[in-house]
Amino acid sequence: MERRITFRQAINEALTQEMERDKRVVIMGEDVVGGSGTDGAMDAWGGVLGVTKGLWGKFGDRIMDTPITESAFVGAAIGAATAGLRPVVELMFVDFMGVCFDQIFNQAAKFRYMFGGKAVTPVVVRTMFGAGFRAAAQHSQCLYPIFTHIPGLKCVVPSSPYDAKGLLIQSIRDDDPVMFFEHKLLYSMEGEVPEEPYTLQLGEANVMREGDDVTIVSLGRMVHTAAEAAAALSSEGIDCEVIDLRTTSPLDEDSILESVERTGRLVVVDEASPRCNIATDISAAVAQKRFACLKAPIQMVTPPHTPVPFSDALEDLYIPNASRIASAVRDVVRYKA
């Protein structure tokens, strides 16, 4: 059996291997070392959830703590990328995009186009997202739809340790700005991960489970919830195909369309707020391009259009669960025109 490590360790390993391979790779972010300037130990935290732990010992000043000024240090990572480095910058929670979005969407995303194809901005913004941590409205959002909306950015949303390592290495080697979204409830998930460096292409979805009755498209942590629903439904004789998008930009539209051609039914599961999210985007594409294949209306399983609540009683209601997904699947299977 292959070695098993956590999602957190997989990201740490990808960063380590790329820093060993390429001296231009540097890391910056709030407490990515932890302890800078204190009387205590360096590498005290290694990131707020310990993802970058140990890198300071290996790479010294190539990993830098920053002040809590996202606009300056995310912008600095972008400027450094345009000027010859390959920075990986950590935006601790994606919710903090509100204080640095200009640098990401007006600067990094647009340099290449505005400057007539001359700029190369190989920056990776690693950021934590998602609900379920009882972290409330300002530390639990998904927000990848906002970044997916912006031409010039790539958006990666890994769902497993294996994908996290391969997609992060690819993102660091990629010459475009990449937003790399890590679901905070996946960090402790274990999975098989090869020790050697490897890459997974951006824009290639992963068919996690094959099936002919219904296509379920999902991403991030929701992929596992969708798989749980699919397993339950198989005992009812409903055969689901589960597609993990892996990246929302570029989007592997071909894999989705090909699957819907076979199944004729689509359920999209997205943890992001329901308006203008990945579910609506994919639903629109399928309705527009494979209308004739559809045997039932497309179903979208998402949270309600509310902020993420704090109380577990409410947050558990907020997050799409396997039972809601199964119910949506049953609806499309039983649909009669």
Partner: protein, 322 residues
């Protein structure tokens, strides 16, 4: 760096080039042939030139919406810039950027910027790259008095200071953030005073005086190259045109600009000083004047005649790969 005759002629030529470029764009914009938003730098030439004369291709600058002067001072091609302003395929950015996004990375010109305060974080990054890549380069962020109040600028001063980045922050205080006075909008006597709070030198410089800018910039660049960290320079200056072309400037006194042109003009001040010193003759300057007028004239003729981008260009240059 001692200013010899060649340097003085170069400085004069670049200032005149910027002035002629801007005066001509002002005239051409009024004909309706130049699309979009244009913000002119005329009156502020001594700052861009006094600073950039210390820089070379390993050094970076970030600019503002009022960026033509910085671009020219950093060595961007005049013809390609004019074509860009006209939105032509031969423009420096292929007609996809326009006046507010002129950039030339080969020249270390990291872009004019349509976002006030957009440049300083990028300059921190360019400074970090210069430091790590070991080329001894520096990064200069030009910011207006409007941008001086942006959080991104203040955050960048802090970051550059704690990381001792080879950065120079140049606040071009022309008195107006769009139509609002810097005295109203800024809670300080001088923006340079803010340097104290970020533990770096802060200097107020007369932005009409090339030699004053040159001296202060020389010290700031030296400090940066030697690893002594960033400097904040506030250059007090005036702009000759409105915030944007088409601005009626009713917020200014009726004779304000005329008085400034008559008494504070950086190019005339420079000419007086160098000719009275005997190092340069009035004839030599006049020759540059003529040459610059011809060059700008030619750039306008060529820009007008140039082709617009092909339709296929709409979809290119979004990503390196996708």
């Amino acid at each position: 760096m001692h200013l010899g005759k060649t340097d003085l002629l170069k400085a004069y030529r670049t200032m005149r080039l910027i002035r002629e470029f801007e005066e001509r764009v002002h005239v051409e914009f009024a004909t309706g042939e130049i699309p979009g938003f244009v913000h002119l730098y005329a009156g502020e030439e001594a700052i861009a030139v006094g600073l950039c004369i210390h820089l070379d291709d390993r050094d970076w600058i970030t600019s503002t919406h009022r960026g033509h002067g910085h671009c020219l001072a950093k060595g961007c091609d005049v013809h390609a810039m004019m074509a860009e302003i006209y939105g032509k395929a031969s423009g420096l950015c292929g007609g996809k950027g326009g006046s507010m996004h002129i950039a030339d990375l080969d020249k270390g010109m990291l872009g004019a910027n349509g976002i006030v305060g957009g440049g300083p974080p990028l300059a921190c990054g360019a400074g970090l790259a210069a430091k790590r890549l070991g080329k001894n380069g520096v990064a200069v962020a030009f910011v207006g008095d409007g941008g001086a109040n942006q959080g991104s600028t203040l955050e960048s001063l802090n970051l550059a200071s704690i990381w001792r980045l080879p950065c120079i922050f140049v606040i071009e205080n022309n008195g107006y953030a769009e139509a609002t006075s810097c005295k109203y909008a800024g809670a300080c006597q001088d923006f340079a005073d803010r340097a104290n709070g970020f533990n770096m030198p802060g200097i107020v410089v007369d932005g009409h005086d090339f030699f004053a800018v040159y001296e202060a910039a020389g010290e700031a660049v030296r400090r940066a190259r030697e690893g002594a960290g960033p400097t904040l320079m506030e250059c007090k200056v005036n702009r000759y045109f409105g915030h944007f072309e088409g601005d009626a400037q009713t917020y200014r006194a009726p004779d304000e600009v005329k008085k400034l042109r008559d008494t504070r003009d950086c190019i005339r001040g420079f000419a007086r000083k160098v000719t009275s010193g005997g190092l340069v003759t009035a004839d030599e300057l006049a020759q540059i004047d003529q040459e610059v007028v011809r060059l700008i004239d030619d750039s306008v003729v060529q820009a007008k005649a140039a082709s617009k981008p092909e339709a296929a260009e709409l979809l290119t240059d979004v990503y390196v790969t996708y």
